[in-house]
Symmetry: C2
Subunit: 204 residues, 2 copies
């Protein structure tokens, strides 16, 4: 019985190895390659460890870390949907729900239920823990874009109004980190990393 | 003052992005490439989440997760020292201590001290939390070798007595996981993934 349970847990650990092969749009800080969702999840967990004092409301750090560790596992089946991909956004929720149903179910039932419930809480963004986890998930790509002179933004023709619209919710988890983010966005426009929505070049 | 603190925290988050470029000896489960230390750390944190019930002694899951998240950060300066590299092992402790002194010091003093102390606890392997974290760190490469038919073992001419000697300490953190590990090792020898120490081919 214990061995069967352990086998399910190990099968899950091996299955999620695939997240290392899901490539995101963001580049590493040194620009050498695009990052994958597994190493991204590690970095978010490290952000949670060092930035938790900036959360608007008290958060449970263990729950926030576990959320960011698991938040992208659904991409193993559903792929990474770029935050500015309006077409991909249409069926994203359905694709990811199916993925969650399959992947978490590899675990023993009690753990499957616990982690899937935590993933759904993250997606719903209604609790302080989920809001802060989302804040970290939004802030990190801004930092990567900033330190790579807007590389990913430029490759996808993203403008400042899109970045502002998609990231304003950072403030729901942390006013301090939203202040940082809006400064980074303004500075990115000033430095030419990010096209202003009113730039003539943006008009097709 | 708050902004200065936040800047130090963000500088640390950007600095540790370099861990994504530290390549280990282990291959991904699908054999497509060798893994890096950042994604490895993520997978260990996920192991902590799902395997904590198998620890010999009660552990504090948040501390175990934080340990495995930070345990390899020193490799940014010190590089990854292969567990079977006896030459590299000679000055490993000194190289890693210098790295820890530099990298954690990027953080505000209170956080630098907290994380460096946790890293030193992990290295000392004397507390239940550190022992269980070490158990996970040893078990994962066995799993990767097993699912890739011993690829990394074979590339480095590793034999079963080396694997047994270097991994027996898995039992210090979890008897159950050591039982799993020794079964995997025995099965790897039986399947030809891992050379037995008595195989004539091992003799130079």
């Amino acid at each position: 019985m214990i061995l069967n349970r352990l086998r399910q847990q190990i099968d899950f650990i091996i299955e999620i190895d695939k997240l290392k092969s899901v490539v995101r749009r963001s580049y590493l800080a040194d620009g050498s390659r695009r990052e994958n969702s597994a190493e991204h999840s590690w970095q978010l967990a490290m952000m949670a460890v060092v930035l938790t004092e900036h959360a608007n409301a008290p958060v449970d750090l263990l729950r926030v870390i576990t959320m960011v560790l698991i938040h992208d596992i659904v991409e193993i089946d559903a792929g990474d949907t770029y935050i500015y991909d309006t077409q991909g956004a249409l069926d994203k929720a359905q694709r990811e729900q199916q993925a969650a149903d399959r992947i978490f179910a590899l675990l023993p039932a009690d753990q499957a239920q616990e982690l899937q419930s935590l993933w759904e809480e993250f997606e719903a963004r209604e609790t302080p823990d989920a809001r802060f986890a989302t804040t970290l998930d939004r802030l990190m790509p801004l930092l990567h874009n900033y330190v790579t002179a807007g590389r990913s933004w430029q490759e996808h023709g993203i403008t400042s109004n899109q970045v502002l619209a998609n990231n304003a919710r950072i403030g729901e988890g942390s006013e301090t980190l939203w202040e940082l983010a809006s400064n980074l966005i303004a500075d990115s426009v000033a430095k030419g990393y990010l096209a202003s929505a009113s730039d003539p070049e943006d008009k097709p």
